[in-house]
Symmetry: C2
Subunit: 414 residues, 2 copies
Amino acid sequence: MKVIVITIGDEILIGQVVDTNSAWIGQQLAYLGVAVSEIKTIKDNNQSIKKALEYGISEADIIIFTGGLGPTKDDITKISLAEYMGVDMVFDQGTYDRIVDIFVKFGRPIKESHKHQCFMPTNATLLENRMGTAPGMLFDFQNTMIVSMPGVPYEMKAIMADHLLPMIAKQIPIDQKIYSRTIMTAGEGETTIEENISPIIDLLPNTISVAYLPSLGSVRVRVTGRGEINTIKSIVDHAINQMSAVLGDIVYALDGISLSQAIMQLCIEKNIWVGTAESCTGGFISHRITSDPGSSSYYVGSLVTYTNELKHQLLGVNNKTIEQFGAVSEQTVIEMANGGLKVLGSDIVISVSGIAGPSGGSEEKPVGTIWMCIANKKEHFAFRINATKDRKKNIEYAGNVALNALRKFILKHY
Amino acid sequence: MKVIVITIGDEILIGQVVDTNSAWIGQQLAYLGVAVSEIKTIKDNNQSIKKALEYGISEADIIIFTGGLGPTKDDITKISLAEYMGVDMVFDQGTYDRIVDIFVKFGRPIKESHKHQCFMPTNATLLENRMGTAPGMLFDFQNTMIVSMPGVPYEMKAIMADHLLPMIAKQIPIDQKIYSRTIMTAGEGETTIEENISPIIDLLPNTISVAYLPSLGSVRVRVTGRGEINTIKSIVDHAINQMSAVLGDIVYALDGISLSQAIMQLCIEKNIWVGTAESCTGGFISHRITSDPGSSSYYVGSLVTYTNELKHQLLGVNNKTIEQFGAVSEQTVIEMANGGLKVLGSDIVISVSGIAGPSGGSEEKPVGTIWMCIANKKEHFAFRINATKDRKKNIEYAGNVALNALRKFILKHY
């Protein structure tokens, strides 16, 4: 099955809006084992839409349009599609009734312009939109399945989930089903991971594929099988178990759970409370942790000590330590962590101090030099990383490394 | 000038990565008054790249490729381009020397595979990449300007800024120049802003356009003119002055400066030190502030007190206050701010406490109820906002509102 996704919208072409719809559609179809072969973003005018439709019909089995169906966009998409297919527009009472219902419920006035919204190409099958007023539309034209949906992300997602994904899943032959699982790792690069699991991969049938998805400080390993569902499920599950065993403690979770979520599960299970003492990460680790709902079950808070005075005053870091070794040093992060344990009262504290950049570096400690420490009342583990010259990347990378070190510290000592 | 942007990468088509490069390119070209007419994302194989190139040549004056030039992607892009144009590949000693320099500096070994990276199509003009090892390439082929750049965002941006944007700017005819300025506002919606400035807009010639770019808690107003540069410059500058005067203190800066950067300028100028005492924002405000290089010149740090115990213990919030009014209350945020002033020693403290969600809401205080306070030793200003049900949005929105309240507090009292 060849799929082209076409996003309609000038606001994307001039960079006001980043097109996240296409990525989401690509991901959902990939889960079904259907690959998008091209994504196109075009202007929202009649000519561009017709041209893209013509291109899509010549190239693909399925064309998915998003954007250009809302009340303000003046229905350019559906008129252009109808004109290209040579069909008329007809008033759809059902759509109008739904709009009236919604507007009455919210006490908003119905305008004459809402009637325009209800004219649909005569050959369209309407796909109900439970999140908005404009329904999706499905066409079967010249052996191509053409779908058109609003550009509002949650409306598009609802129509995809309710109608389109089940429809496409059904079209996949019984012996061509897809089953996919993911191993979440942190702390090793793609190359090392690949070396470790390649003996397992070598023994897999060629219906199973393995992909590496790296990001700052972590790599996801996705194992996907295609075939008869029970057969591939047992092969993929077995491979996931074998790989997890070989990879050991760099595996922090399976199947899409984030590092901070994995830590939350671990801490709640073991009744561990965590706090942070941050300097160069400036509250980012705390922000990462508290972005997860439920984090108040294990996280107490953070002392973001951006000045040396606060490191001394709040965390009890000795002024002499800072003088002698510097604020970015093993000694300082150890004292920060110990101070944090006392002041925050948590079981474990993460401390971080480094040179995020772009300035502040020296020959001995260039930009990107970051020290961190994980400590409880008995043990501590301090180490240094050498990150990049990019301030934002350094902050994010240091946060990921610190969270992974916390996870390993818990596994070792609890 | 017709421009097509082509992004190469399977990882975008399967939704692993969102294509932010194209949006950035669209934006930068829009500033020059050049509109991107189409964005295409294609597979990273020889056939797809050649086909996209053929399509681009038939449609556009400028084709901008990103992606597929790194050391791991095996140079598929440049080989495909060279094959399509019928030219050979030649080893470029300069590129190899640069790679060797960089690797020696970082003490990493040079591999044989790095030599492959240095073969370039004979008709390519190389564009230096100061952020990485793979240079950009420029071709003049069949009356089309073809550019190919790495997909790593900061490398692509450096090549665009250093080479491509100046080159394209020069090609714009003298009477078609673009001049654009932006008013940065926070605290009012698009509709109110439009109402206030519409008398000014009505008097502008039709060579001048006005666009509104809203985001969480702020709206940017962009005024763009096209024509002879001195004429449009004086009209746009005059309009910007008039609009700024009418909009008053919702304007926090001109021309792309962020809210936190505007606050940094203000604080450094007036010698004000700022600290934060955060609960529901969990360190996000601190993270926003410390993401700016130079923030250590006015920001001391944050007490992220996620538990009630720490609000009491670190910030001195009275336990009775929390019992009687709750942790999310005017009284609590006032006491948090006052406690922060004492402990952090800064001139001003921002405090925030709210229900970020998804759980924790009640009839009286639903999810999205957020109290905040800005205080110095003499004055305080506490207020409540009602945000959404979405945790991440609430955190971000509360951060933006708090920063804008800080700015207004400084303007009023300093």
